[in-house]
């Protein structure tokens, strides 16, 4: 994970994923697959998928782009 994200991202990513688990947010299956290869690009995409659950208007092409 540290290879893909800036310092703040490295702080934030585990925290928001942990909170998402507690909130029973559906997470990408790769997070539970110890054999999955987490490439930098994949990690960024995973974080986005989780974060957009909290901030739906930040999704590209979503509600935030319709104004």
């Amino acid at each position: 994970m540290g290879k893909a994200l800036g310092y703040l991202g490295k702080d934030v990513a585990p925290g928001i994923i942990e909170h998402a688990r507690q909130m029973r947010v559906k997470l990408p299956p790769q997070l539970d697959d110890p054999s999955a290869e987490l490439t930098p690009q994949l990690i960024v995409e995973v974080i986005r998928d989780v974060a957009f659950h909290y901030f739906p208007q930040l999704v590209p092409g979503g509600a935030g782009d319709s104004h």
Binding site: A4, G6, G15, Q41, A51, F55, Q57
Partner: protein, 457 residues
Amino acid sequence: MPGSATRANALDHVVVVLFENRSLDNVLGRLYGPGDGKAFEGVIGKELSNPIPGWAEHGAGRKVVPYGVTTDMDSPNPDSGEEWYHTNTQLFGAIDDHNRFKIGEGVTAPWNAPPPDAVPAMDGFVADYISTFTGEVGRQPAYEEYAQIMTGYTPQQLPVLSGIAREFGVFDHWFSEVPSQTFMNRSFWTAATSSGLVVNSPVRKWFTKNNAETIFERLEQHGRTWKVYVMEPMCLSFTGVIHYPRLKDRLATHFVRFSEFEKDAAAGTLPDFSLIEPDMIAGHGDYHPAFGRSFFGGNVDIGLDPSSAMLGGEAFLERIFNAYRSATAEPGTNVLNTTLLIGWDEPGGTYDHVPPGPVPPPDPAAPAGEFGFTFDRSGYRVPAILVSPWVEPGSVYNEEYRHTSLIATLRKAWDLGAPFTQRDASARTFEHVLTRGTPRPADLGHRRGPAPACMGD
């Protein structure tokens, strides 16, 4: 240019953007020199240096590192330490023997804390950088590698930031509120406290432990509107995470993409209060120091990231400024009735020569926070620039301001009620710097050259 507003309308709407991890010396220290005829607390004409600790394996015979100009748009690289225990070393020069070369959770009590009533000498930046570098990279840095912590940028290297600073007003004694990291300082910007939290990690604590009232809720109580605009493609808002216990029901409604700011500015529909977050995760537009490439072999960059967060910050600031200066709708929000404040959260371990002073704890009755810190001294200086047609070009404000000066000013200008904490109760307001009797032209006189190519990359 919209013509109906007067100076009394200058703070009808407020826009704040908060960038990342730079001291005033680091990015604006050479904005003005003695020949400019201004009282400005920068670095030009001063003999500034930091001692090299005797335990340094390389270059200790030189005794000191003098302050100089950076040659790399990604400096400092690797990033400098910024947690409370690193800042202790940077400000007071002391590092516990058992904490030398330790980082993160490896640092233990007493966390390099200074003795009571110690006065910061601003002489531990080199020692902390050598220690942090060694902890991160696994070897001690060469002199040339650690000397970069004693460098800063020139106006020519940062033409957007410096150009705007010269065209409007710069605060040369704006202090961060907590001698530590991003989350606490951002929380003070918007709540005048961090609820006793002193470091970012673990981030899960922010989902439950920061229950302080926010400026956003106070605005709503007084019938005022707000939005948090987030630079694309950042996928979340740190403000939303930091204040999750108070704002969780607003994350889906008040946190939008920055492109909406551009639309709102053009349409004259900005809210009363706008907070802009640069991308701080992947696709940096935040002026943050190097964000990790140097720690890993091979090419681990992702396509989103600029070659340096400095250049990404310059590009994003230009985008913000262009949206602001183009806001001429009437009726509605426009440059005459909207003030832009460009600020930073924390200095991030980059060198600054002005020692921070004592400040009142947010809640004197509260128990000590993490690490036993009682929040009785502030962090050190960061850049802050006020942009408005009602600001005289080339202004420099020498009085002490802090992050909570924003809340104090909004409370006063918008009659928002009692102080949030003792910290904003004691902060100086800045509404009085909007001094012009007539506004400046619509283009605000902004002239600059293109941002430079990444140097040393």
